[in-house]
Symmetry: C2
Subunit: 200 residues, 2 copies
């Protein structure tokens, strides 16, 4: 069985977006598969006392420049959407609902959501927009919109986030491989080293 690499992220996280461009190829090149796991960073921050970057003085302005440069040097589409950040409950609920049916579709859906938000500036906090993106790919829009209101679907993302927090996840992106945690899109090189050297 292929050992799994877990990729935790929030759909409103720029560094999650950047890492999402590379994580599958990185894992595949090292014989791993990726499990994509959206979380709600707002719930995570309540545990750690951390705050969204753009609400921080000085560092928030710096982050905006860092994202621009990152996109430029990685050569990926980028805009700072308005509003930013957004609530990602609808996006994450839809993800897990699709993931339970077809993980490959869910991964494709996640990439589409990220592109819609940071590539095109669409407001992905809206269930309607989320369902549009899913239905353009494969899902039945009405079925999904109905599902997004179901208590079990709502609970799922809270449970996934709580489980992630228990396992030490405190930011986005956060990667767990062989029980080892790596935080940030700027630690992908370290994940690669870890995979290539067989851990420590």
């Amino acid at each position: 069985m292929t050992e799994v690499l877990e990729f935790f992220f929030d759909f409103s996280s720029p560094y999650g977006y950047f890492a999402a461009q590379k994580i599958d190829a990185l894992a595949e090149a090292n014989g791993r598969t990726v499990r994509w796991k959206p979380i709600l960073l707002g719930l995570v921050f309540k545990e750690t006392g951390m705050t969204p970057l753009t609400s921080q003085p000085v560092r928030g302005e710096y982050a905006k420049k860092d994202w621009q440069r990152m996109a430029r040097y990685m050569d990926v589409p980028w805009q700072l959407p308005e509003p930013f950040p957004v609530a990602t409950q609808a996006a994450a609920r839809a993800f897990y609902w699709i993931d339970d049916r077809n993980p490959d579709q869910a991964r494709l859906f996640a990439k589409s959501l990220y592109h819609a938000y940071f590539g095109e500036g669409l407001d992905i906090s809206s269930p309607e927009t989320v369902a549009d993106i899913a239905s353009a790919l494969f899902a039945d829009k009405d079925e999904l919109l109905t599902a997004l209101k179901e208590p079990t679907v709502k609970r799922r993302i809270r449970d996934e986030t709580a489980k992630a927090i228990e396992r030490g996840v405190f930011g986005s992106p956060y990667i767990i491989v062989d029980g080892e945690g790596f935080w940030g899109s700027d630690r992908l090189w370290m994940v690669k080293k870890w995979l290539q050297s067989g851990g420590w």
Copy 2:
């Protein structure tokens, strides 16, 4: 005249230590020289509301692991000194005192201090230890110990830190090149891209 790259750091900053291993070679390979500029991160944090990593829940424990892995994968000596972090007034005062006389010596002294603290675990908060390290290289120990108590020498590091804050420096390491700021040892690749591509 060679354009300068400014390298801001605190002597008690692990990521400053890691960046210090590479910054000269990176600049030189791109036709730049480096001006090393120690600052007092404690004063910087008062401006931004940021706190030392190890005092932060969850993230502090993660940072300790990140430093270990960083040292391992960069193949540089590493230990988390006790105490950590330490006051770096004496170290920074001594640096500028030497720097005014001989910048090349000051750079060598800075590398020695970093190695003493993170490589060997010496407590570099003590003026005595700082003066020992300087005198092992080139300075007269008693002359330096006397200088460290002078008001102008004490004021210098506060002034340098204040100037750095005015220019947007909010962490360690922080690099300014062509007016553009880069934060963190994990942005050296971006500084390199910047230098190679001639900016934006």
